[in-house]
Symmetry: C2
Subunit: 299 residues, 2 copies
């Protein structure tokens, strides 16, 4: 377990360096009146975050010996979508957060208008990356990656889940509705990251069942762990404000299940996620380590 | 000229009906806690607006005998991007507008959080439409359409232009900078609409020069006409607040050129746009009518 943790830390660091270097190229100061727009994007996207979604792209693509440059750009697109969603979710009209990844949020470090536009730009950039022939030479693969990401981030995925999350402050949801909300809000993009690795590996949709099962269970486990962290974590380590769900009186896995059953459910989902990988050999050890990390993480 | 105006009106109405019927399918009430998100998208996207960008897709695709269903979906994607940008531009942190297309803006009719998410969702939906095999069977065409739209709407296009527009309230731009700002803010998406028609027509990039020239001149003429409308138009007809540029003390074509020279420049650009179409026969009459309409429009 100690070795795996070490490997995972090394893998996370490597992916962070890889994605950061690509973002630094894309988001270089244009030297014109858009300077603060680009600075805002760099502030939000470079040098922070767990980089879980890009790592999932790499860890899945590794199963199929995919070219690392292709994988790097696709991982960067996934992270760009994730960062855009964080910028918009942090806005005063949404979750109204001041800190993110241990730094002031974009609308605090810059202003609201710049934050809205920086999010919009990262959103468009993700699709520009995926549609570029230099990312992948096969237009069929590019088109499949884009469909995967657009569905996962739109009204039936991440943004739709965020809307349900806003509604959760106005009405009390039951467990199936909370599960669906979280599957959309966080799970869909985690699934899209794994799916992107499989698309890059040219796995046909019918061959992706086990990987989808892994991603689905991982996404839910991740969200329960997030709820536990929100209730029990330390703000200094998490790098963001905690105890928000309770303040807002929102129904969460935690409020519906209680701490003990939530923790148990999280462990069960992680084991189930790992079990989906039984047909893979040591090449899937990184995916297994990611699942194990989810229950243990402190941020 | 009277006939052309009549044809144009008929074409605009037909495109509006076509795009509205597709949007009605995509944005149907999901019957779950996302109801108001979908209502907000329908409020902004259906039954309003000039539909200039979708019409440009249709008018260009008509030159090459493209399948109308393909064209309709691509036109809908262009309109979805345009509407998302209007929703976000109208937000209090941006242009802070209460009226749009003769109706309350989304954040007025719903709330700010819903407006941000409705914009984000239309943004993602545009790419989902373009990446769907049912929109176009050839992944190369889909991928080219997506690259076209992502570039035109991102930091080097529409959103970057909007950022420059915000900066224009803080610094005084000269004519070349205002031209670049407007080319990005409004011109890029108008160019993308024409380019999309050419991509659907399978015109190779080197064969698109004249159409690009047309779109470029049309975009600038459109913006100058918009400036004139902002200064001289009637709010009731325009369906939105006017005289904003002057209040904000922004450098515009109008403030830099004066009314007479601006009007002259607009006419010159329209003639130049039409001149780019000289190699095309009557099949390009709709594109010519659109250019002529730009100088005459009252909203």
């Amino acid at each position: 377990m100690a070795t795996t943790t070490l490997d995972l830390r090394a893998a996370l660091d490597e992916v962070a360096r890889d994605v950061d270097s690509r973002l630094a190229i894309l988001l270089a100061d244009p030297g014109d009146p858009r300077t603060s727009l680009y600075a805002a994007m760099r502030h939000a996207a470079i040098g922070g975050g767990k980089r879980l979604r890009p790592l999932l792209v790499f860890a899945t693509a590794r199963l199929f010996d995919v070219d690392r440059t292709c994988t790097g750009w696709v991982a960067t697109a996934l992270e760009a979508i994730h960062v855009y969603s964080l910028i918009h979710d942090d806005l005063p009209a949404m979750d109204d957060d001041d800190m993110r990844r241990g730094k002031p949020t974009v609308h605090k470090a810059f202003d609201e208008a710049t934050a809205i536009l920086a999010g919009d730009c990262l959103h468009a950039l993700a699709f520009e990356i995926l549609a570029s022939p230099s990312t992948h030479p096969d237009p069929f693969v590019r088109s499949e990656l884009i469909l995967d990401l657009a569905r996962a981030s739109g009204p039936s995925g991440m943004a739709g889940g965020q809307m349900m999350d806003l509604e959760a402050e106005r009405q009390v949801f039951d467990l199936p509705t909370v599960t669906r909300l979280q599957q959309m809000k966080t799970g869909a993009l985690i699934c899209a990251a794994v799916e992107a690795g499989a698309i890059l590996g040219r796995v046909a949709p019918e061959g992706r069942t086990h990987l989808r099962g892994y991603a689905h269970d991982l996404g839910l486990a991740f969200q329960i762990a997030d709820d536990l962290l929100d209730a029990e974590g330390e703000e200094a380590i998490a790098g963001k404000r905690l105890r928000k769900d309770k303040e807002a009186g929102k129904a969460t896995f935690l409020s519906l299940l209680g701490v003990e059953r939530a923790r148990e459910q999280c462990r069960m989902l992680v084991n189930q996620a790992i079990e989906h990988l039984r047909d893979y050999g040591p090449e899937a050890d990184l995916l297994r380590a990611i699942a194990a990390y989810v229950v243990e993480r402190d941020r």
